[in-house]
């Protein structure tokens, strides 16, 4: 048996031995142990080094509020830093290491910082790194050298860089009642609501339900409180309208009763089960919420209150009663309230000697004196602890007479030999979630605590959360909350019979004992009482500023135990009562949340992607795939040894010489149907569509309401009331929403429906001088000659037994056709086309060649329709109908949109025969060292196999007027400067003779 483990008592499974290591040392613990309880049982007192001063630190608490005992848990290559040892359940093979120490925890080089305490006081970082550097070191490298070490010396654990292989998941849940916290209040609320038939979720951040009932030693209805918990949980488990979520921290309370929770599904296991996530992020939409989140005990602020062995009183009680571990043999209790007497008795019963109870109050009640007697403890009323002694463990302390009204110490300090000091500075209800939900916490003078704010959302509080610290109150509260939450009438109930020790919940208003030495307020960020006063002296009066300047409450524990003492000290310094100083509003998360759980399944392989019907064919046939938004498209079909440029040049050349085929299934396709479909298109497009004949297609341009260009594409009239609109790949979703908006909001009288049919059709564009011959070789059921299928004509036929729709249109500038088939037949048709094209030298080509041929033709895409260009800028003004209004027509002629100095689309040819870059600027002056006077920029560029030159499309001031002139491309980031000629954007076959055949 470990040195501090009691022979009996607690809820650990002494028959089950678990092996783990801490800082490389092997230890054993038992089933039900946390890392904290197991190490404590092994006699470990030193858990970590403090943030700034590297002071030795032990356990302060037994729960989620732990500020000191932060460890890094190693799983394979993955390190998870800053986990409170109190929240780590041990399992076989657990590897944990301490943090913020070098080279080791027991021998830490930075502990020397303790000597330089004044240097690292409040606002140290602001003063040091952000203020003006003055003095002899100004401007020297020495200071930067120091900064490196100072930053390294201060801090928490370090994150690893290995990829986390763990699985994280997200879960959506709906319930009538969410109960947060499973102490007596929460359990009772859950049971009551469930008995009413409500759908209930009960969440607790601990692995074991029951909260304080697990360690209070009280009896409820003649059973031990722990048995009452077991019985109640078993009842809840048996119900199918209850979901129990242990190890689940509800960390965020958002609008409309939406709450966020983190379930630690498998951290407590050596190996998760197959497919089991590590963490699960729960998004819970609750009809109402019962907040039964309990309360945190507060430390007292006095010199040396951070020494290992100084612990919160109830934490020690919990270690003894829940885990069967004694934090010390010779225990002193230091308190300003009654609750610590119960802790003293619990430790006495577990086998420790209670040397003394030091109470700041001059005269504790007779009941407390009796409890002190029962604990065989010397009661030092009207006294305070003024110092602690020892190094890595407590060896003793000093006590002095204390007048709590004056806050003054008197008499001689008396030494007391002790290895454990329990402190209790009163209790702060855990109101974080209620505060997140809105409204301000309210100070209660009697309880010396902030109580829950007024309700701004649908929640009900119960138990210690309400400042009702007695178990009887908690159970009554819980029942009422359960009934209120389901909207039932609250009727009186028979009181349960509770045996508990007497306790007046009102503490004395003492937060700090002022004596010589460092008195810690925020243990995790090493903020002392003196730091708070220094901040006040330096002019900080707002609590929000105090928080930021001293960093009080800003560590990973978010000041769960330090906020109220910090405020009290600030209030005293300001000479104001605490409610006037106010408190900071709590924000999510209540406790740290793994980033993995937030990213969940939207990460890596599980990110949604869109694949065209021919995707697998492309991959199988050597395509290098390129992600375009969510889509994957072939970039090139490279031959072995080919560079990307060689591949696309070959593909584009072959297309212009013979024929090429490209997958265009990603184009947005929208069915526009109904009696008013044509009229609707007339309003949406700048040009006319009502005049389009059935069986014909037309190129269309859309503007936004503000008159700028929006999107372009061809629209095919398949029937009198049936159009197939195509959009650019990137804008498909936006165009769809645009159309839906106008039909729903602006023109509800129009009978037109729009439906996304992008995925219904597989599209293959086949172009080149031999494209028609290839089609003729494989299409049945229709001719494809010029008479049957003129430019912009549409025919229906079959390819290899599958129905297809063919439209003759061209993006490449060649004689070209788009062949559409049902998506499920896409690969079948594609393969038939490729097969038919083989004798004609047909090549498959990807986005690079597609882009090259479109640049050669001067067609625009999203790079040019960038939200800042107008139809005129892009030389598409011929498409602006003067016969009808359309979206954007009223705004497109505004002064600024027709100005002569606007950027217009032009072509560029590199005169130095070197590649151009997208985004490069065009300048007039030859001043490579000091480029200035941009007249525009490049939007797209390529090597043109048709021209044998490096060319680009660009938006240039004045545009057309500059055709034939020279300028320079300037791209200092990529060291590119050189002469270009400005030409028409139509580089290749401007008359379109190839396309028209």
């Amino acid at each position: 048996m470990s040195p501090r483990r009691t022979d009996t008592g607690g809820h650990v499974d002494r028959l089950k031995t678990i092996r783990f290591t801490f800082d490389g040392v092997a230890y054993t613990g038992h089933g039900g142990d946390t890392l904290a309880s197991a190490l404590l049982a092994n006699g470990v007192t030193l858990f970590g080094r403090s943030f700034k001063y590297h002071r030795p630190r032990g356990l302060l608490s037994a729960g989620v509020e732990e500020p000191n005992a932060l460890v890094t848990v190693l799983k394979g290559e993955v390190r998870e830093p800053n986990i409170p040892a109190t929240m780590v359940e041990i399992h076989d093979g657990l590897i944990a290491v301490s943090q913020n120490r070098f080279p080791s925890l027991t021998w830490d080089i930075h502990a020397v910082n303790q000597l330089g305490g004044k240097l690292l006081s409040a606002g140290f970082y602001y003063k040091t790194f952000m203020g003006p550097v003055v003095g002899p070191l100004k401007g020297t490298r020495f200071w930067m050298f120091c900064e490196h070490f100072i930053r390294r010396a201060a801090g928490l654990g370090s994150a690893g860089s290995a990829k986390d292989p763990a699985r994280y998941e997200r879960m959506n849940a709906f319930c009538d009642v969410l109960v947060v916290g499973s102490g007596p209040a929460g359990l009772m609320a859950a049971k009551t609501a469930a008995d009413q038939g409500a759908r209930v979720i009960l969440a607790d951040l601990e692995p074991r339900f029951g909260g304080s009932a697990n360690w209070s030693g009280e009896t409820i209805d003649d059973a031990s409180a722990a048995d009452w918990v077991r019985r109640t949980v078993a009842q809840l488990e048996a119900r199918d309208n209850v979901r129990l979520l242990p190890r689940t921290t509800v960390w965020g309370y958002y609008d409309n009763n939406t709450l966020a929770a983190l379930e630690r599904v498998s951290d407590h296991k050596a190996q998760p089960a197959k497919g089991e996530p590590r963490h699960r992020y729960w998004a819970i939409r609750a009809g109402s919420v019962v907040l039964a989140t309990g309360a945190f005990e507060r430390p007292l602020v006095f010199p040396g209150n951070d020494r290992p062995g100084v612990m919160l009183a109830h934490a020690a009680e919990r270690y003894a009663n829940e885990f069967g571990v004694l934090p010390g043999q010779r225990v002193v209790v230091f308190t300003n309230n009654d609750s610590a007497y119960r802790s003293a008795l619990a430790l006495k019963q577990a086998g420790a000697a209670i040397v003394a109870i030091v109470d700041v109050r001059p005269q504790p009640s007779a009941e407390m004196s009796a409890l002190a007697g029962e604990a065989e403890a010397e009661l030092l009323s009207g006294h305070a602890v003024v110092a602690t002694e020892g190094g890595k463990a407590l060896s003793g302390l000093k006590v002095q007479r204390f007048d709590m009204v004056a806050g003054a110490l008197s008499g001689d300090a008396r030494s007391v030999h002790a290895d454990c000091l329990l402190m209790s500075g009163g209790w702060s209800p855990t109101i974080h979630l209620a505060s997140q939900a809105g409204a301000k916490a309210e100070w209660n003078e009697a309880l010396q605590a902030f109580l829950p704010p007024k309700r701004t959302q649908k929640w009900v509080g119960a138990g210690a959360f309400n400042g009702h610290f007695m178990t009887l109150e908690a159970i009554l509260d819980g029942r009422n909350a359960g009934l209120t939450a389901v909207g039932a009438t609250v009727a009186p109930m028979a009181y349960p019979h509770i045996e508990s020790l007497p306790c007046d919940p009102r503490p004395a208003p003492v937060f700090e004992i002022k004596a010589k030495g460092k008195s810690f307020v925020d243990f995790q960020h090493d903020v002392t009482a003196e730091d708070v006063r220094l901040a006040h002296r330096e002019g900080f009066v707002s609590v929000e500023h105090l928080k930021r300047y001293t960093t009080l409450g800003m560590a990973t524990d978010q000041g769960k135990s330090s906020n109220v003492p910090g405020l009290a000290i600030m209030a005293e310094a300001l000479g104001k009562p605490i409610p006037e100083v106010g408190t900071t509003r709590f924000r999510p998360p209540f406790a740290p949340v793994s980033i993995g759980s937030l990213a969940a399944e939207r990460f890596g392989d599980l990110k949604p992607e869109r694949l065209t019907p021919m995707h697998d064919w492309h991959v199988d046939n050597g395509a290098t795939m390129y992600s375009a938004g969510l889509w994957y498209r072939p970039m090139i079909y490279g031959l072995s040894g080919e560079t990307v440029e060689q591949a696309y040049v070959r593909e584009a050349k072959a297309t212009r010489e013979n024929a090429g085929i490209v997958d265009v299934s990603t184009l947005g396709k929208i069915a526009v149907q109904g009696p008013d479909a044509a009229a609707f298109l007339d309003r949406v497009y700048t040009n006319m569509f009502s005049t389009l004949a059935v069986g014909k297609a037309r190129y269309g341009l859309m503007l936004r309401e503000d008159g700028f260009a929006f999107d372009d594409g061809t629209t095919w009239r398949l029937g009198d009331q049936d159009f197939l609109m195509t959009t650019t790949t990137a804008n498909a979703g936006k165009v769809m929403q645009h159309l839906e908006y106008f039909l729903d909001v602006i023109w509800p009288e129009l009978k037109a429906h729009v439906t996304s049919v992008t995925d219904e059709w597989a599209g293959a564009a086949i172009g080149g001088p031999k494209a028609r011959q290839i089609l003729a070789a494989c299409v049945t059921g229709t001719d494809v000659d010029n008479a049957t299928l003129p430019f912009m004509g549409i025919v229906h036929g079959e390819i290899s037994g599958v129905p297809v729709m063919i439209c003759r249109l061209s993006f490449s500038g060649e004689m070209a056709f788009e062949v559409y088939s049902g998506a499920g037949h896409g690969t079948h048709v594609w393969e038939a086309l490729v097969e038919a094209g083989r004798p004609f030298g047909l090549v498959t080509y990807g986005l690079e060649a597609l882009g090259t041929m479109r640049i050669e033709k001067g067609h625009v895409t999203g790079a040019e329709i960038d939200g800042r260009t107008t139809a005129r800028d892009l030389h598409l003004d011929w498409m602006l109908s003067k016969k009808k209004p359309f979206i954007g027509s009223a705004m497109m002629d505004r002064e600024g949109l027709v100005a002569s100095e606007r950027l217009e689309l032009v072509g560029l040819i590199a005169l130095d025969n070197r590649p151009l870059n997208g985004g490069a600027h065009i300048v007039e002056e030859v001043d490579e060292a000091n480029p200035h006077g941009s007249i525009g920029h490049i939007t797209a560029c390529c090597y043109s196999p048709a021209l044998g030159k490096h060319i680009a499309l660009a938006l240039v001031k004045g545009g057309k007027a500059r055709h034939g002139t020279r300028a320079h491309v300037s791209d200092p980031l990529r060291n590119r400067f050189g002469p270009v000629e400005i030409v028409s954007n139509h580089f290749y076959d401007p008359e379109g003779t190839r396309m028209h055949g």
Binding site: K274, P613, G674, Q721, H753, S756, V757, D759, G824, H828
Partner: protein, 195 residues
């Protein structure tokens, strides 16, 4: 005619997967209906269209948002005001509707290729779907026959409950493989079988 290619093919592995040693709690399959058709009524014509749906499929649609029904071969459900998805194991549903849905009533859009139908069944179906969609899958909130439109990230989905423990999910074909993979992944912890 050539058989329609499933977008799931390379990722469709018949058999038991994941944590199935204690039995599978999820069945996954692609139902591959011959027809998936979208019908949309003009305002005021909803009831006429519902009658037309009954005439063609024999399925009566309950009044109210998201109502639907299924006979195991044909299914129908509302997914938006005046809009319905109708499916049939057989092909040819779109042309059957084109004959009875007059231009004055509404429109017919054939989506037989454009949507992929994935069926998830089993005692953990609600659990697994809740990992994806922020809607309430509990039976009282989502009765048998009813349809819902919702989204998982960018994956738009129409879901019909076709049994107490069974849901048919219609997703865009291009997203189908991605969604299928995610569905399999999410089903691993409870054990699943692909049929």
């Amino acid at each position: 005619m050539a058989e329609r290619q499933s977008p799931l093919e390379p990722e469709f592995h018949v058999g038991s997967h994941g944590n199935f040693e204690h039995g599978v709690e999820i069945l996954l399959t692609e139902t591959r209906p011959g027809s998936i058709v979208q019908l949309a009524a003009w305002p005021g014509e909803e009831k006429t269209l519902m009658a037309a749906i009954r005439a063609v499929t024999g399925l009566a649609l309950p009044d109210g948002a998201g109502g639907g029904s299924s006979d195991g071969v044909k299914s129908v459900f509302g997914f938006a005001p005046g809009k319905f998805t109708v499916t049939d194991e057989a092909e040819g549903l779109a042309s059957a509707f084109a004959k009875v849905v007059a231009p004055a009533m509404g429109t017919v859009t054939d989506l037989s290729h454009g949507r992929t139908a994935i069926r998830i069944a089993g005692p953990k179906a609600e659990w697994v779907l809740s990992k994806f969609f922020a809607i309430d899958f509990a039976l009282p909130a989502f009765p048998v026959g009813a349809g819902r439109s919702t989204t998982h990230h960018d994956v738009f989905a129409q879901i019909q409950r076709t049994g107490t423990d069974q849901f048919d999910i219609y997703v865009f074909r291009s997203f189908a493989r991605s969604f299928w993979k995610a569905l399999c992944h999410a089903s691993e912890e409870v054990g699943y079988e692909v049929q």
